[in-house]
């Protein structure tokens, strides 16, 4: 019969010093967390108080309660979901296409040294170009609307992805490649079993950066041309002086971006487990 390994219970007898250490550790965590919450609550409370007492003009700076009312009314009439859905779709598509496409490009460039050398100056220029400058051209070519916004988003993310992933691929230890060669590995095997897994940590950093950049791309795109989405709401709200709408959309954007970042963090934890 196989004997099962017995797991030690978590409350194994610790020494007094160790107990103190653990307690301090936990206390520190609680202190940090409570301060984080405190800052948020104080900020919101102060904002609300100043707006209620008329110290600041809610017409220009809105207030938490107005933002909340705006949000709940848009939730109850269901219109918020359309805007969130569109922005989310654009961002996820842009993020996905840029990440996969950029990585694929990096693979091709890693594979062919000639191509890499030929394209290097173009990539450098593309990287330093503010992609937003291409906005009008994109609209001219593909028309305004969702596809223009997604292209905007992809353009902003893809060059960085390609450069970072190429760097990650190129930084693979030469001796490791030699080791693979000494075991008769072909180039595809070298890539698949060494270079790619070796670049996983960099890939996750790229994902983290892209999460941020993709939101920039989408919102920028929506500023330039759109008829729906959170970026659209912000521009529309500011044009008709409905700061509540602007603030509410910003808050929702904040929450969405945070959720997406958290998901990548989980992915990182899972990868490093």
């Amino acid at each position: 019969m196989k004997t099962k390994k017995i797991k030690l219970p978590k409350c194994a007898p610790y020494s007094k010093a160790h107990e103190r250490y653990l307690r301090k550790n936990r206390n520190d965590k609680i202190i940090v967390l409570s301060f984080q919450i405190l800052i948020l609550v104080a900020f919101i409370g102060l904002w609300e108080l100043l707006a209620q007492t008329g110290v600041i003009d809610p017409f220009f700076v809105s207030s938490p309660s107005r933002i909340f009312n705006m949000l709940s009314s848009m939730i109850s009439d269901g219109s918020i979901w359309r805007h969130i859905g569109i922005t989310l779709l654009e961002t996820i598509l842009g993020f996905g296409i840029a990440t996969l496409g950029g990585t694929l490009l990096a693979i091709i460039l890693w594979w062919s040294e000639k191509l890499r050398r030929v394209l290097e100056p173009y990539i450098v220029v593309l990287n330093s170009l503010p992609k937003i400058a291409l906005g009008p051209i994109i609209i001219l070519w593909v028309g305004s609307g969702m596809s223009a916004i997604i292209i905007m988003c992809v353009l902003i993310c893809i060059v960085m992805t390609t450069i970072s992933m190429l760097n990650a691929f190129m930084s693979c230890d030469n001796d490791k490649i030699l080791l693979m060669k000494s075991m008769k590995a072909n180039k595809l095997q070298i890539f698949w079993k060494l270079v790619l897994p070796n670049a996983m940590n960099d890939f996750i950093s790229v994902l983290k950066i892209n999460v941020g950049l993709a939101w920039v791309g989408t919102v920028m795109g929506e500023y330039i041309s759109s008829s729906a989405g959170l970026g659209y709401l912000i521009v529309y709200g500011s044009q008709i002086f409905r700061i509540d709408l602007v603030m509410m959309s910003t808050v929702v954007l904040c929450l969405l971006a945070a959720i997406m970042y958290l998901m990548v963090s989980w992915l990182e934890k899972w990868h490093n487990r």
Partner: protein
Amino acid sequence: MKKLLDINKVNFFYQTKKEEICALRDLTFSVDELEFASIVGPSGCGKTTILSLIAGLLPASSGSIILGDEKVGKNNHEKIGYMFQRDHLFEWRTIWKNITLGIELQKPADKDEKLEFAKQLLKKYDLYEFQNRKPRELSGGMRQRVALIRTLVLQPMLLLLDEPFSALDFQTRVGVCDDVHHIIKSEKKTAILVTHDISEALSMSDKLVILSSRPATVKHIEILKLNGETPLLRREDPRFGALFDFVWKKLTNENEKN
């Protein structure tokens, strides 16, 4: 003893933008079956280049390298096991996945036997219980043992060791030397060790090849007959000190020439 490796008048040139550089000149030496040979020489003299030539990773400019009965070419990877300065274990793979990497890459016909052999090696050298661990959970010495087993799994004719202990601290290093020596001898392997550490070379090997500075050529070959089962014990042989001085002087002369 039968000759396993015969290097005859090998020259090696490589090109840089400025000039053509001669790295090896008329290099000639041989290694017998089951022999443990070490190559020492001034730093930068081209020791690693020699290993690359033997492994067929670089082509010799002229001369011949014969391994077994065949001339070394691009396709003699199966006959060679290569060990590097660092263990180069793949951190994302378990120990088992690391040592079976070569089998995975080559997909040999006798895959099952090789996998069984890998398991035997792990058991024999006390790594079996670590097979599902990741490399970062192992000590430096254990990692080097895993790296050696990874090359042994493919049952190479000749092991090439390129300063495999240089990244370890001294105490671990002496222990790992013993380990590696023991494994190589008990698996009945022929090995060539490249090192800059004279005492390491003396304690581990049966034959010592001393190279000149670049372009490297064989300056002296010393057959060693130190008493002692393990490298550590051999360091206690009364002749060890004299031999050390002898090699030291040979190498110092070379360094001064530069």
